[in-house]
């Protein structure tokens, strides 16, 4: 039924479309263009070809940032793909009071990363609770430099990211678990499958689509890591800036009145290409699954 004039939808869509064009599409195109120039904030740049990218390839700062990102992805993807699933299975069954447990498990998700990082730097302080406990148990003689050493810092930060992300991915799995028919569990139990085998052969195949999605989401967000490392190191990126992430590098080289906007844009383009990898992978997996063999969902 014709209920509106031709321009009505466009009027309704106008603000949203303008915002997407001005604050997403245009900046993206502009970033790509600027990455081939030597632009600075106060003067437009000249076209310099791939000079920024050549310089990037030799920049030890980028090498460090890539190592940081790589470690982050390698650690976060398995942890945040598996642990939230176990958590979701724990809170899936509607036992009395389950609403309370679900809400509290979600609590770290809604807290600001800055807040959580401040709490973390108090817990992992040289005189904080964690070090005190370890010393009390005689596991260590001197406080562990959780927030100073490059790798320990990274580990502490990863622990923070994982702890904060558990509830978020738990909710994704909760929705997926709702689609696994309980009859399958019953049938498997009658056939004599124990809890672990039921998990492996009923639950996991049932939520496989959600697992690939979560793994890709985790990988992308691990590449975008910024606030945790920034706050834990007071913005310095750790000793010698070695624990700096890619986004920290973008901010470091690109911000301020003297920022190297062109160079920072090249780093941004590298970040964008990296974040496409997990998405391409998930697309390829989905294609392969639907193209032949037995699908997970019969």
């Amino acid at each position: 039924m014709r209920s509106h004039r031709w321009f009505t939808p466009w009027l309704l869509l106008l603000p949203a479309v303008v915002w997407v064009l001005v604050f997403s599409i245009y900046p993206f195109v502009n970033t790509v263009i600027l990455s081939f120039t030597n632009a600075r904030p106060l003067r437009g740049g000249q076209f310099t070809g791939i000079e920024n990218y050549v310089r990037l390839a030799q920049d030890p700062m980028l090498a460090n940032a890539l190592v940081t990102t790589f470690v982050y992805v390698i650690a976060c993807v398995p942890l945040l793909t598996v642990v939230p699933l176990l958590l979701a299975m724990l809170v899936h069954k509607p036992v009395p009071g389950i609403g309370f447990f679900r809400t509290t498990a979600y609590f770290p998700v809604i807290a600001s990363v800055v807040v959580v990082s401040l709490i973390w730097s108090w817990l992992f302080d040289s005189r904080g609770v964690v070090n005190q406990t370890l010393e009390f148990l005689h596991l260590v003689n001197a406080p562990i430099p959780f927030l100073v050493d490059r790798w320990l810092l990274l580990g502490t930060s990863i622990l923070l990211t994982v702890w904060k992300g558990l509830g978020y991915y738990m909710v994704v799995y909760l929705a997926a678990l709702g689609n696994v028919a309980p009859e399958l569990h019953e049938a498997a139990a009658i056939d004599g499958a124990g809890a672990f085998r039921r998990f492996l052969h009923v639950t996991v195949p049932g939520v496989r689509g959600a697992m690939t999605l979560v793994a890709a989401l985790v990988a992308v967000s691990a590449m975008r890591i910024f606030s945790e490392l920034y706050v834990l190191t007071n913005g310095s990126g750790g000793p010698g800036g070695e624990s700096m992430s890619i986004v920290m590098m973008v901010k470091q080289v690109g911000s301020g009145l003297n920022g190297q906007v062109g160079y920072a844009s090249a780093v941004s383009v590298v970040l964008f290409l990296l974040t496409l990898l997990p998405l391409l992978l998930i697309g390829w997996l989905n294609n392969r699954d639907s193209g032949g063999t037995l699908g997970a969902r019969a």
């Binding site: 039924m1 509106h4 869509l13 479309v17 709702g178 970040l271």
Partner: protein, 294 residues
């Protein structure tokens, strides 16, 4: 949850009623659930406890004392010697409330058009919205700042607010919500003479309030918790938002007390707790409807 009548919430041994756990299973389940609660909430409680401790109480005491011996709100006052934390909280609140209002209204309008109307170019707009999902905000950071700067909004709260006025994700969420409204209902309203504005006000809005609540929560939390963008835009400490101010406080070489930092973090937590508590019933609703299938 379920309509079936049960004598006990657990099953006897050898029963294959998979809807009920065994007694031992139920006990283990609750023990694990309590562990989850302790791990999720413990660090926040420790921070709350630190913030309430008196200056004379040793915060490094071992074993750690969770209950302060003489609870005091002194740190919530003394933290303002270093940063105007309540002023910063007000800045964050302004941006968060603005973000909620504009996202709720503009995403509803756009979502209604995308979800219920047929028009030329719809697929193009759809592709536009979807493509932004692939684009992390961090990638466009530098260029976004150049835009805000050229509008003369660098170092202003309005410049912090501007890019988040309406999010593509929220439009897509509203689109799904609007699609669930039966076309017949909308047609009936049209026949009764309702124009587009009246249909949105009296038919669409009452039907999508749940989704609006979800968008409101996400917008509020997103704006309140945001750190990187305000950090880029603001360089005058008088204009900081709360997250930027707290990071600044932690990094400052002045002798800030751990109790005062803790007080600041609790101040940053309270508003999102209130918002989440008020609207959390909308949050797990989708989860529930998926869960009651059995």
């Amino acid at each position: 949850m379920s309509a079936t009548v049960r004598q006990r919430p657990w099953r006897s041994r050898r029963s294959f009623d998979m809807h009920r756990p065994t007694l031992a299973g139920l006990i283990i389940r609750y023990v694990l659930l309590v562990v989850v609660v302790l791990v999720s909430v413990g660090p926040f409680l420790w921070q709350l406890s630190t913030s309430l401790k008196d200056v004379t109480e040793d915060i490094y005491a071992f074993p750690p004392q969770l209950i302060p011996s003489q609870p005091t709100l002194e740190a919530y006052q003394s933290v303002t010697r270093f940063i105007p934390v309540y002023q910063y909280a007000f800045h964050s609140l302004l941006i968060a409330l603005g973000s909620v209002a504009s996202n709720a209204v503009l995403a509803t309008l756009a979502g209604y058009a995308m979800g219920t109307m047929r028009f030329r170019g719809r697929m193009l707009v759809m592709a536009l919205f979807l493509s932004t999902l692939l684009l992390p905000g961090e990638v466009t950071l530098t260029s976004q700042f150049l835009i805000v700067n050229s509008l003369g909004l660098a170092n202003t709260l309005f410049g912090v607010y501007l890019p988040g006025v309406v999010g593509a994700v929220n439009v897509l969420l509203m689109m799904t919500a609007c699609r669930a409204i039966p076309q017949d209902v909308l047609d009936a309203a049209t026949i009764d003479g309702a124009n587009t504005v009246q249909r949105i006000r009296h038919v669409v809005w009452p039907n999508v309030r749940g989704m609006v609540a979800v968008i409101a929560v996400f917008s509020f939390i997103g704006a309140w918790d945001d750190f990187l963008w305000p950090l880029i835009v603001l360089n005058d400490p008088a204009k900081y938002t709360l997250t930027v101010g707290m990071a600044f406080l932690k990094a400052s070489p002045l002798g800030v007390d751990q109790r005062e930092i803790a007080a600041g973090t609790i101040i940053a937590l309270v508003p999102i707790l209130v918002v989440f508590a008020a609207l959390q019933r909308f949050f797990f609703r989708g989860v529930e409807s998926g869960a009651v299938k059995g």
